[in-house]
C-alpha cells in the first residue's frame, strides 16, 4: 500500500473472470448519479480498513467485494442478515449445480 516497501511491480495483462466484471459493474451502478448508494472514496476507505494481512491475501476484486458489502451495510442499504442469508442461498444453489 501507498509508499510502503515492496517488490517490483509486475506488468502483466489480466483476463477477468465473469464475476470480476460483475463486481466492477456493480460499483458503477451503485455509485452512478441516479443511485448514489456509495462513492469510490468509501470503496477506498473500506479497502484500507482491511488491514495489511487481508489486503495482501485478497485479490483485487475480492477487496472490492469486501469493501462494497461493508459500505452498503454501513449506509443501511442492506443488512448483515440479508447479506448472510443471500450468501447461504447462493451457496446452496451452487452446490445443486444451479448456477
Amino acid at each position: 500500500m501507498g509508499g510502503q516497501p515492496a517488490g517490483p511491480a509486475e506488468h502483466t495483462e489480466h483476463t477477468y473472470a465473469p464475476w470480476e466484471k460483475r463486481v466492477d459493474a456493480l460499483l458503477v451502478l451503485l455509485s452512478d448519479k441516479d443511485r448514489r448508494h456509495m462513492t469510490v472514496d468509501e470503496l477506498r476507505r473500506n479497502i484500507e480498513s482491511l488491514g495489511s494481512a487481508s489486503y495482501e491475501t485478497l485479490s483485487y476484486y475480492e477487496r472490492w467485494m469486501h469493501s462494497i458489502s461493508q459500505t452498503l451495510i454501513q449506509r443501511g442499504v442492506i443488512t448483515v442478515d440479508e447479506l448472510g442469508r443471500r450468501i447461504e442461498d447462493v451457496k446452496r444453489r451452487a452446490t445443486r449445480g444451479e448456477l
Binding site: 501507498g2 509508499g3 510502503q4 456509495m38 462513492t39 472514496d41 468509501e42 477506498r44 476507505r45 484500507e48 454501513q74 449506509r75
Partner: protein
C-alpha cells in the same frame, strides 16, 4: 460544484506538506508528508475525498494542486539523476507555505 474555497497558492509557489498522521481515510501519500515541493499547477476544486469517504458531502470543494517534488527530497537513498522529479496531487489543507530553503 458551486461552493468552493478560493485557492491559496499559485503555480510556482514553494510549499511544504504537513507532517501528520490522520486516523482515517486520507489522500496524501505518507512518503511526501513533511517534504518540500513546488506547485506545478492548480488542478481545480473538488469535493474533499476525506469527507466523501465517510458518506458526507465533502463541500465546500477544496483546491487540488499538482505538486512537484525532487526525488532526492523524498528518497534519501535515491540513485537516479538529481534532476528527477515526481508529481503528486495534493489537496490544499495538506499544504503550507514554505518560506525556507528547500
Amino acid at each position: 460544484m458551486s461552493a468552493k474555497v478560493p485557492p491559496l497558492f499559485e503555480s510556482g509557489a514553494h510549499v511544504k506538506v504537513r507532517f501528520a498522521h490522520a486516523a482515517g481515510h486520507v489522500r496524501t501519500p505518507a512518503y511526501v508528508r513533511g517534504h518540500r515541493g513546488v506547485v506545478e499547477r492548480l488542478c481545480g476544486s473538488y469535493a474533499n475525498p476525506e469527507e466523501l469517504a465517510y458518506a458526507r458531502s465533502g463541500l465546500p470543494a477544496k483546491p487540488l494542486y499538482r505538486v512537484r517534488f525532487r526525488q532526492e527530497e523524498l528518497w534519501p537513498d535515491y540513485r537516479g539523476d538529481s534532476s528527477d522529479t515526481v508529481d503528486v496531487e495534493i489537496f490544499e489543507h495538506w499544504l503550507e507555505p514554505d518560506g525556507g530553503t528547500g
